[in-house]
């Protein structure tokens, strides 16, 4: 068989994690560089996947690998990627180096702590980040439900330690209190997601039971199940299907997070350091929305369309609710967290609108939101680390002392409010159009969020960056080279994907088409058939021709 690219891509960061963790306590800097090296290697592999991937090719999944793993339960080690997975893997692999760079000093040993041979926070921090990357990547690749579930849950362990173990020294009430809050947030994160995971586990077992009952041999393979269903060999009773769907969806909704299951996110993002917060919202949570797209819809088409109205309303609520709460936040990180809740609402909206625009938009949204939030959150992290406070009220006039920081912060903010010309606009507008074309009312209401987004972003910017310079920030240094290296590429990417998202859309469209065909939904047709609809790229030249001949 061919070179197991997917396995290797997941394995490299795992190996990196082990290697980093194994380094002796004294070699802190070495650990950092090692972690960075491995993350870059992963990025290279991810890009290789993107190049080896042929968007037009037949069959939903490519670069597939399949080995029997636990034959007794029909569990197989099945990997495969479609366009969506490729995009998200690329996003993950892209963000991790920046996360590592941004967190370069987050896990340094405090000066006042006595040296201890066993105590190696730095190694642990970067090893955990790499471990998370490995698990996220493989859960993007897994096409076997059980395999996916395994890593979907295992992800929680390193995340738990990242949240609970490493906080930015901006507690406000002293380190003790901060640590207490951190661990509380971490526990909440863990329990919340575990609860979701357990319900999903029940559903997974149920799925196995159903397949075993109807196909003779039980299976977890997504493709087998989809094909069996298409061939009519497998038809799950309506009630069962709905229960199973809810079981899966609950876990993903917690992870996503969808209102009203969102309350763990602000705590987790607020208490953890900025890079970890980015890890949570930009990387780990994407697994939830991705899984909705890959598993919920494809395994349980009827149930999905049955639940669509409710889910759409929930998504709509979290869109507006998140934005409104973001407006009222006093803590920069929590504000960004609530903004993310609003954005995840958009993603879910797009997924369940069941239109090609909606789902492509949702996928693009996952990528773009990852990048934009990373940009905003990391800059916010730099800001917080300088001033040692997360409260918006403690800032003011930063723009005068640190113009570059303020500028990058503004760009990140503009991306968050999805300004046209920046990447998020494309995805958000696609989601809105996709939703509107099937559910006009919801589309219109969701559009209101663009004003709220502008509100919370601009209020944040105004309170922190503009106005008279406060004494506390007067001595604040501008972005250092390392920080610029982190932010500049992200911003460049935001602009590029905003101006020329075609590579991404070409990657995603076929996969979305396949999903829709599985769900058996078609885009609603326009009311009026305009002859010239078949596309600008053909109409453009046409018009030009006629002009030319007119000129003659």
């Amino acid at each position: 068989m061919s070179f197991p690219l997917l396995t290797v891509t997941a394995a490299v960061p795992a190996v990196g994690a082990i290697a980093t963790a194994a380094l002796p306590a004294a070699r802190r800097t070495a650990a950092k560089w090692l972690a960075l090296l491995f993350s870059l290697a992963t990025l290279a592999l991810a890009l290789l996947i993107a190049f080896r991937f042929r968007p037009g090719a037949t069959g939903p999944y490519q670069l597939t690998e399949s080995h029997t793993w636990i034959p007794d339960f029909g569990v197989r080690y099945e990997l495969g990627v479609d366009g969506i997975a490729v995009a998200l893997i690329a996003l993950t692999a892209l963000l991790i180096p920046f996360v590592i760079l941004a967190g370069w000093h987050d896990a340094d040993v405090l000066e006042d702590t006595r040296p201890n041979r066993r105590w190696r926070p730095t190694q642990g921090f970067f090893a955990l980040i790499l471990a998370v990357e490995a698990m996220v990547v493989i859960s993007f690749e897994a096409t076997d439900v059980f395999l996916f579930y395994l890593f979907f849950e295992a992800m929680l362990i390193p995340m738990y330690f990242l949240i609970g173990g490493f906080g930015d020294r901006a507690g406000g009430h002293g380190e003790e209190e901060a640590a207490a809050q951190r661990s509380r947030a971490a526990v909440k994160f863990l329990l919340y997601n575990l609860a979701g995971g357990l319900i999903m586990l029940a559903a997974v077992i149920g799925l196995y039971a159903v397949t075993a009952d109807q196909l003779g041999t039980g299976t977890f393979s997504l493709q087998q199940i989809v094909e069996a269903r298409a061939a009519g060999k497998l038809d799950i009773a309506t009630g069962t299907e709905r229960l199973l769907f809810l079981g899966f969806f609950f876990a993903f909704a917690v992870k996503a997070p969808l209102w009203p299951l969102h309350t763990w996110l602000p705590g987790a993002m607020g208490e953890s350091t900025a890079p970890v917060a980015v890890l949570i919202t930009a990387v780990v949570d994407k697994v939830g929305t991705f899984a909705m797209l890959r598993f919920c819809l494809q395994l349980f088409p009827q149930a999905s369309s049955w639940a669509t109205p409710v889910i759409l309303v929930l998504a709509l609520i979290s869109v507006l609710y998140g934005a409104l709460l973001a407006v009222a936040q006093r803590d920069i990180k929590r504000l960004i967290a609530y903004a993310s809740i609003s954005h995840f609402g958009f993603i879910v909206l797009g997924i369940f609108a069941m239109t090609s625009q909606g789902q492509s938009g949702a996928t693009l949204y996952m990528v773009n939101h990852g990048i934009s939030t990373a940009a905003l959150m990391l800059v916010a992290g730099f800001l917080i680390s300088r001033r040692g406070s997360r409260l918006i009220a403690d800032y003011g006039g930063v723009q005068k002392v640190a113009p570059i920081l303020a500028g990058t912060f503004l760009v990140g903010g503009l991306a968050t409010l999805s300004l046209p010309g920046l990447a998020p606009f494309v995805s958000e507008f696609l989601v809105l159009v996709g939703t509107f074309s099937r559910y006009p009312a919801i589309g219109v209401i969701a559009t209101v969020a663009i004003v709220l987004a502008a509100l919370y972003v601009l209020v944040l910017y105004q309170r922190t960056m503009t106005g008279p310079v406060r004494d506390e920030v007067r001595a604040m240094p501008d972005l250092r080279v390392r920080e610029l290296v982190v932010v500049a590429p992200l911003i460049a990417l935001l602009i590029f994907l905003g101006v020329y998202p075609k590579p991404l859309t070409d990657l995603v469209n076929p996969a979305v088409g396949h999903t829709l065909s599985v769900v058996d939904k078609k885009d609603p047709q326009p009311a009026v058939q305009v002859d010239a609809v078949p596309g600008g790229d053909r109409r453009g030249p046409a018009v030009r021709d006629q002009d030319v001949e007119a000129a003659k």
Binding site: W259, S356, L430, T447, T466, A527, D537
Partner: protein, 627 residues
Amino acid sequence: MENLIALLVAAPLVGAALLLCGGKRLDRAGHWIGTLLAVASFAVAAVLFADMLGKAAGHRALHQHLFSWIPVGGFRADVAFQLDQLSMTFVLLITGVGSLIHIYSIGYMEHDERRRRFFGYLNLFLAAMLLLVLADNYLLLYVGWEGVGLASYLLIGFWQHKPSAATAAKKAFLVNRVGDIGLSIAIMVMFTTFGTFAFGPVLAATGDTGEGRLTAIGLMLLLAACGKSAQVPLQSWLGDAMEGPTPVSALIHAATMVTAGVYLITRSGAIFNAAPTAQLAVVVVGAVTLLFGAIVGCAKDDIKKALAGSTMSQIGYMILAAGLGPIGYAFAIMHLVTHGFFKAGLFLGAGSVMHGMNDEVDMRRYGGLRSYMPITFVTFGLGYLAIIGFPGLSGFFSKDKIIEAAFAKGGAEGWILGAAALLGAAITAFYMTRVMLMTFFGEKRWNPAEVHPHESPKSMTIPMIVLAVGSVFAGGLFSIDDAFVTWLEPVTSFAHGNSPVSATAVTAATIVVLLAGVGVAWLKYGRKPVPVAAPRGSVLTRAARRDLLQDDFNHIVFVRGGEQLTRTLVQLDHSLVDGAVNGTAASMGGLSGLLRRLQTGFVRSYAVQMLGGAAVLVAATLLMRSV
């Protein structure tokens, strides 16, 4: 030829990129780069214009397709430009006035250490505005639309250390966003209706579409226009926008950006023509705004705010004209262009005055400046004559035509609109005369010890002169055998309205009300001295000073209400949503606390439990057997 179109946008864009990312090493040359690129863009525009003039009227439209932007399913957005007469007009206005104002800013911003960034923003604005008028589909137009919003946000808040400036900038952006809701919804409806949102197919297909959808689109577009062009009810941001540097007010908030709404409506003429309801809404908004702005303009003592009010009302005229359909489009654009000249000139004049008066903006502290800054006085005066529509100057031709067209709407509407327009003209004459008198005539109301009024440097006066020339002759040139109308006709389709009153009568009426306005103003401010401390004034005056209480309304309803809402939501989130979760956790804890009692750690109590279990088992087996 069409490949040059991209150049129009590219030049200022490159400038912006250079200046904003260039860093300090560009500080010394920055403003020159910016100006150069603006002028370059104007040159390209001129070339294209000449080329266009060389073609037959029907085939002047150029189209350039750069690349396919967002292709998803039936959803195809392209980055493609379309340069027809309408766009051409705007391109010339934007690049022309833009270049002039770049030059002006070189002098005006001389002492600002962030001048490089200022020019970067100006270039960014030019690029966005050109994108707006050159786009060949609504989505790309949307990009430009937001782009100018961003540029105006950055420029209004340019002096960010002033909280008022920052707040004003935020307000402007937010209100514009409200308008953007309209634009995006309009695009969505278009997509669901026509499956596309490119000008060509959409405007071509309006014929065979239900009026309902078209009305929806029209109203949504109107909402967008209101946001961008500061029309009632979204006008509140324009006054505060005057916090920005004066060149910004001249370029963005007088000449170009605020007129984007007019462009949008004119561009979508086909839709409005097919949706009379939407059209009616447009004219109503226009008429209301032109009076609203005029009244506000009368009460302001801040020279820039007064001019802002006048801008509002002049755009009201344009919207009104655009709402009249084919009989009005051409005149709307024509007034837009002439207004671009004289209002920019007026603002630059105001800037020049402030420049000489240590950035004093209160007209009650001016007076008798005509001898100190003659050039400013002359150019400002010409602009003034133009705006009040003094016969022979550009304002006269364009505004007169609009009033005519308003009457030509026919029926009761016609009379009402015409009357409103006439009234507006009168008030315009009044408040502009007031500004003129308070600034340049009368006795000095400033302290010679502190301020030393002086004429501005060449770099500032030259643009003013050019604009003054424009505002004198533009209207006349356009009206020579309706050159302008015929130029635009292929795009906007022109129809001669049959007015119930003859053109001459309208003109006469216009002149009469004009003189009346001027007279009243002279009686009030010219004959007797103006008090430095503003008198209390009538209820209307006091209301007008506060923008007719519209701001207060917004504050109470939206700001306060919003704060209340969010605060309650935060409470709910904490107590209800999160409370449920924490409650579950707490109850679990309590339960386990109870069970914990069993674990005494004493072997014998465990033994008791074991024996109990054994007993239960035995009992169970016995029961099993007995059953």
